[in-house]
Amino acid sequence: MSLTVLNAIIAVVIAIGFAALNAAYLVWAERRGAGRIQRRPGPNVNGPLGLLQPPADGIKLMTKQLVIPGGADKALFMVAPVLAMAPAIMSFVTIPFSDMIVAHSMNIGVLMIFAFASLGGMAILLAGWGSRNKYGVMASVRAVSQNISYEVPMLITVITIVMMTGSLDLKDIATSQAGGIWNWNIVPSLSAPLMPVAFLIFFTCSLAETNRAPFDLGEAESELVAGFHTEYGSMGFGLFFMGEYANIVIGASLITILFLGGWGCPLGLFPGVWWFLLKIYVLIFSFIWIRWTFPRTTIYGLLNLSWKILIPISLFNLLLTAGLLKVF
């Protein structure tokens, strides 16, 4: 009993530490990457390569005064950032980093991550409404309608994977792809010929679900000041930021587990946590690369992409895979 309690506490501490560390240093990576892409240095003054910039930013955010705008709904205004951060931390608990390293393996792990991810929409709505700012309200309505419409193709793609594996357990899904790159779910097989397309759909949806450019309509600076967190300063803003980067790490981990073989090596040699970390950071780098390369879409283009293109294709893929799984 005491051992399980201790395990749980250690797991939560590691999850929070991992999320916070990633949030801090992914901001640094993002700014350096943006600098490279835009032919400027990026933060390079504090420490070697600017590596001391994140702690300095953190101290600044934590010591600033928390200003609550007049007329705002104080309770909702305070709750929203916490609600943005907490579900992200919860999701880390069930992600298996290797066959040994998982805090709490659930037989419905996929479902749990999506259940907690759906709380993020609530956080954005409460933030936008609670701060009593018209840009905030408009941005939150945009962000949530985007989140809802991209959740549909994402879940349909996940159902395809679950059908192929026969399990909702992330660990089982990763184990079923062990052995080498030819076993990975991204590679088309006889019973699932459209898997590369499914991967593209899932990748696009995770960009949209994490509100990243080119789908960052929720915080379009050129139209909506800063979107749903316009009124947030100091650590309220910090929590939104940490939540966003934690969600990016979760999205990359999900893609890795569902499509890229989890902790398996492409050649079947030395599977382990290092392969998992390598894959998620390559994916995160591609997220950053896309953000600074593509311009922002419009809200109509965005919603049309989901409802008129991604959902029909993913439904077709689901039906095709279901039929072929019966045949072969």
Binding site: M1, A75, V79, N107, I108, A115, G121, W129, V141, V144
Partner: protein, 181 residues
């Protein structure tokens, strides 16, 4: 009607005691959420209270060893229903009319009497029912639930889909009506 045999209460720091404490926290969350949802003056706060209430209920499902239902509760009720309600509130009316209306005849003494009667009925029901300790039938796995839904409960399953279809058609009719204005 047999008098209920109350076994000795476990200490707070035993496994059962802590589990009981966790259960009480979940119940408290549900009740507080429900109270906020009923009594909030601003509708958005009411929705937030409703979300808290749903999370409490999901936690109770998890406590009762059916994680699948708990996750579905979160995904559908918090992730979809609450967000849809807040959408409706935000898109429907200007700020001032987003407060709940005047209280009807059920508020006040009549409401108190009704609530009292309902509580009394529940308590009598709970005391009269004998709660047998049921064996755990299966792991509550997704596979078992799916098989049950498509065999034993297929009628219910199909009827639910008809209800959803009617809801979608109703929404379309209302939306078309609004467009012609």
């Amino acid at each position: 009607m047999n008098p209920t045999v109350v076994s000795e209460a476990p200490g707070l720091f035993t496994a059962d005691g802590l589990a009981g404490l966790v259960f009480l926290i979940m119940v408290a969350t549900t009740i507080i959420g429900g109270y906020i949802a009923c009594s909030a003056e601003r509708l958005v706060r009411g929705v937030a209270g409703l979300a808290v209430c749903f999370i409490g209920v999901a936690a109770i499902y998890y406590y009762l060893n059916s994680p699948f239902v708990a996750m579905m509760q979160m995904l559908i009720y918090v992730g979809a229903v609450c967000i849809t309600i807040s959408f409706a509130i935000m898109l429907a009316a200007p700020e001032d009319s987003k407060k709940s209306g005047p209280s009807g005849p059920l508020a006040g003494p009549l409401g108190l009497i009704c609530a009292g009667l309902a509580t009394f009925g529940m308590v009598v029901l709970a005391l009269r029912t004998s709660f047998p300790v049921v064996q755990k039938i299966n792991m509550g796995s997704v596979e078992k639930i799916g098989v049950q839904l498509l065999t034993t409960y297929s009628m219910v399953f199909e009827l639910v889909s008809i209800v959803l279809l009617i809801a979608i058609l109703g929404a379309l009719v209302i939306a078309r009506h609004g467009r012609s204005k």
